[in-house]
Amino acid sequence: MDKFQNIENITFTIAFILYMVSAITHLFLVTKLAKKVEPIAILTALAGLVLHTAAMVARTAGANRLPFSNQYEFALSFAWGIVLSFLILYRIYRFGAIGAFVMPLAILVMGYASLQSKAVRPLMPALQSHWLTFHVGTAILSYGAFALACGISIIYLIDAKRTGDHRILKDPEVSDMLTYRVIVFGLLMLTVVIISGAIWAQKAWSRYWAWDPKETWSLITWIIYAIYLHLRLRRNWRGKSAAWFSIIGFISVLFTFVGVNILLPSIHSYAT
């Protein structure tokens, strides 16, 4: 095992542990068992992200390319995107409680990554393109945003049954608007993912669209979120229904990422 792989393994493991500590601390925060733990929850998430970044840098150095080309590498980057999105949102709006629902998602994706083969494989000819970085990079941002929206929607559904100080976020209107804001960003990024994939496919395989299961499920996810936005903007569709729609959208994201690879034969099968 080379030194980069050693560094990657160590930093990955510590980041994973720190994320777990952060998620547990966040749970204490939202269940009001301990009220002053927010700084610990955020700092452990931040420290985890720093080590997670180190793991990705080590992977990049060891493989001589960005870690974007198989299920392990994409899951590693996806979890990174989730935590980064959460911390950016925290920096802007200071809603630490969201971490109680977002950090477990990051842990879930990290756990999935740890089950995949970590072997560094050379890029197959179709993946040797500058479009890989752009296509997968935007997918990480998009999926990260949708995970965040899912977490905030769960908060909305819990808060809808509570009143006053018992709520996780004081104003459910805020979580509703934040979900919208984050989905808007995720959908724009998903559009870039689909379009960059189409342009790349045209260059590599002569067809911008081939109804491959991965691209088709990306389109289905796009349609789900497009319907969400239309209902919201034109029909003022808010509240519980919008929150459920956001969660369904994220299930579609997860199926596009994991389910398609496991269940459906695809030209994206190298992403295993």
């Binding site: 197959m124 000819p125 040797q128 608007m177 342009i199 260059k203 590599a204 002569s206 109804w211």
Partner: protein, 421 residues
């Protein structure tokens, strides 16, 4: 009459119709991903005894080309076009500089006494400000209301491009050995494969497939270029893509007694050669550049590097199998008065040749969609009203976020002003 036709148009353009159509399209394409496509009708009847006939009658076996799917897309395009045209009038009105939405009395308000701070903030943020006594009104990104329309136009351009592509695109696979040529009669040029090469990494995996091709125009102009996966060659509207490769073995049939070579030529894996004088059929079952024996006792190749090459050959006489062999290059199979050898292997390239005049239209559709979404999400119209120490924000798209950003920016402006004072 006019009122009735407008009612019909509004019904066609309604969001309800759009959602129903989008949901049906989504369901259809989900089925298309779950159900194996383009198999024989008998296969569906046998695999799905209860649903087989329904699958075939609804063309779910070729979901994306089925009449139902095409009709759904066409209806959605009509819905989108009608909706876009009907919304334009209202959007045009909202772009007028005198247009302001109604500001809610008790929602999205900020208490601020200093009108100068508000004015400085609005100017710095490039709002168009109107003063009326001690009140201020300001608006920004009024044209952003067109975002959804631009996105819809992009989708329609994409549909037009896709339709043109379906009607005009043509595709073919051309297998070429070094020295082989392929002529494109209508376009007036031919291509000749000069060389085909595979490069490998340390572990034996293929790094790249490279075809060196000379394009010769009818006027005699010659250009030589390399093409590989992700680096296609385009000439006179034809795109050539590195798509596949295969192996041929150089077959030699020799008379054992005289040493005379009776036949020699390249034979592709999976193909046969019929040696007429002896009624012998030579079937090259496969070529294995790095041969090993698999779990099922069948030959397999560990990689495409020619480390330990072998040929699997089956001989037939009058249609009956007479022997199967695994031989190394140059190793002879004696058969009656003949010797059959494969001297060496030559790789051939598989180029996918495609002409699709719709791609620039599709690309334009993509870019318009992106532009429209960006405008819609980030350049949405924003309005501010200030009077009697109360500032109100209004934005149909993103009310709370806009309000939050105005509040934060005003606090920053106030802090800066206090420091300057």
């Amino acid at each position: 009459m006019k009122r009735t036709s407008m009612k019909v148009l509004h019904a066609i353009a309604s969001l309800k119709v759009a959602i129903v159509l989008l949901s049906l399209i989504a369901i259809y394409i989900v089925i298309g991903t779950l159900l194996p496509q383009h198999s024989a009708p008998e296969w569906y009847l046998e695999r799905y005894p209860a649903l087989g006939s329904l699958i075939i009658s609804l063309s779910l076996d070729s979901a994306y080309g089925s009449p139902i799917f095409i009709v759904l897309i066409a209806l959605f395009a009509i819905n989108l076009t009608t909706c876009t045209v009907l919304s334009l009038k209202g959007q045009w009105r909202q772009m007028d500089s005198n247009y302001y939405p109604s500001f809610k009395e008790d929602e999205f308000t900020i208490d601020i006494e200093d009108q100068d701070t508000v004015h400085t903030f609005l100017k710095r943020k490039r709002f168009r400000v109107e003063r009326g006594g001690d009140a201020l009104r300001a608006g920004k990104f009024r044209w952003g209301v067109l975002g959804a329309t631009i996105t819809h136009i992009g989708l329609l351009v994409l549909f037009v491009g896709g339709t043109i592509g379906n009607m005009t695109a043509s595709e073919d696979v051309v297998n070429l050995l070094p020295g082989n040529e392929k002529r494109f009669e209508e376009e007036g040029f031919l291509i000749r494969l000069e060389d085909f090469d595979m490069t490998f990494d340390d572990k034996g995996a293929v790094k790249q497939y490279i075809s060196t091709v000379t394009v010769i125009d009818d006027d005699g102009t010659e250009t030589t270029r390399e093409l590989w996966v992700n680096n296609p060659l385009h000439h006179k509207g034809i795109g050539m893509y590195q798509a596949s490769f295969g192996w041929t073995g150089n077959l030699r049939v020799t008379d054992t007694a005289s040493g005379e070579i009776q036949a020699e030529g390249l034979l592709r894996s999976g193909r046969t050669y019929f040696h007429q004088s002896s009624h012998l059929t030579i079937y090259l079952y496969g070529y294995y550049p790095e041969m090993a024996i698999g779990h099922d006792q069948q030959p397999v190749s560990l990689s495409n590097r020619e480390i330990d090459p072998h040929y699997a050959v089956v001989l037939y006489e009058f249609g009956n199998p007479v022997g199967s062999y695994i031989i190394a290059p140059g190793e002879a199979i004696p058969y009656k008065d003949l010797e059959i050898t494969f001297t060496h292997a030559v790789a051939y390239t598989g180029l996918l040749v495609r002409s699709d005049p719709s791609y620039p239209v599709v690309l334009a559709g993509f870019l318009i969609i992106l532009l429209g979404m960006f405008v819609s999400f980030y350049c949405y119209p924003r309005f501010i009203h200030f009077s009697s120490g109360t500032l109100r924000t209004a934005s149909r798209r993103n009310g709370w976020v806009f309000h939050h950003s105005v509040r934060s920016a005003l606090e920053r402006t106030q802090t800066r002003k206090n420091k300057e004072d």
